[in-house]
Symmetry: C3
Subunit: 154 residues, 3 copies
């Protein structure tokens, strides 16, 4: 049996966890959109002029820190989660220990939830956000380096 059919199979708990946590992270990123809409409506900050009919009777603003905050958290997700997704697949193909892989997926997912929470829900002083961010960053970097060392076809 080839390595790939041994790795990319429902018999491999690491692969199942990859699909599960990947989908959880997609849902997590999706939540940023209604969160932004809620802040926009509460603070009266339409993103586009043609949206102003949704804000009738509200005092409109150009920007508000609470809107910017959710946007920054969303952008940080965009910068970190899709590349994790892609490199985690490359990492899976290196046939890692399933328990290690599962734990890395768990910690990454948890770290990204904490990052958003302390950034955009309840603002917590640094280094809370920095630590959450660096945790996900190091896991992504570890996976990328492991995959490069394994495949090294330049």
């Amino acid at each position: 049996m080839s390595i790939i059919s041994r790795v990319i199979t429902f018999d491999n708990p690491a692969f199942n966890a990859y699909v599960t946590y990947g989908s959880v992270l997609v849902l997590k990123m999706m939540i940023m959109a209604p969160l932004t809409v809620k802040q926009r409506l509460t603070r009266g900050v339409p993103i586009s002029p043609e949206d102003s009919n949704v804000y009738k009777g509200k005092q409109l603003r150009k920007s508000h820190e609470d809107v910017d905050r959710v946007r920054r958290a969303h952008l940080n997700d965009l910068e970190n989660i899709p590349i994790f997704f892609l490199v985690a697949f490359a990492y899976l193909l290196t046939d890692p220990d399933p328990t290690t892989a599962l734990n890395l997926f768990r910690v990454f997912t948890l770290a990204r939830f904490i990052h958003t929470f302390v950034y955009a829900i309840v603002v917590v002083p640094q280094p809370a956000r920095g630590l959450a961010w660096v945790t996900g960053f190091l896991i992504t970097g570890y996976m990328a380096v492991k995959a490069i060392c394994h495949f090294k076809t330049f």
Copy 2:
């Protein structure tokens, strides 16, 4: 035959449609770049100081609503299309009815084209853009939930 080799195969029309519509959506996102360049050149809004030699003889501006509009549409694509791509693969692995899968890909792709059209080409009042956006959002969310319920390896 394993489920994966039954799903990830050119004999599965849902898989072929996934690759086709995925590539169409990539082309769709790519179009946002020349569209932005066109608006920047027309409106005289260079993104970076070293670009000003391309704008000779033009009156330069810091920003223009038509440029911002294309940028917002592009950013919205970035927020919605890559996660769809990723979760649609997870959804395919749940072995869905091929016709349902095909129709979801069709509707998502159409919705994203409409979103860009009413946002950045011909501005249409709300709820046009909101409806286009929510259609793609709900499809992505449905796929994520279906994949999580199927794999649930936490």
Copy 3:
């Protein structure tokens, strides 16, 4: 043997190169984050109010061109690299000549490194950045069109 098991295998150098260069590009994108942090700390531009305790004794600014520059380069990566990743996989499934595929991955990766270098490290006048960008753009477009023509399941 099915086409997919002939393409998605460690015996296919194009597949190994895809995983290798994909992981290299993930590392390349990751570098943008510490680069941004470095510029923020040097220029005194905290992204969020709660970060100001990290900047003690520094004169703080709302923005600085050097910070914006790295951010623009990062955003351009986000606009171009994940879609390349996705469409390169679709392209691989069309069973391309391995040497051609390998060279396209090489040129794309090199072009993206050059793009960042001339944009955010040593500013080089146009058309340096434009050429680097268009190289990656054309490769991504070629792959998307090839995949669509091959699968065409609409």
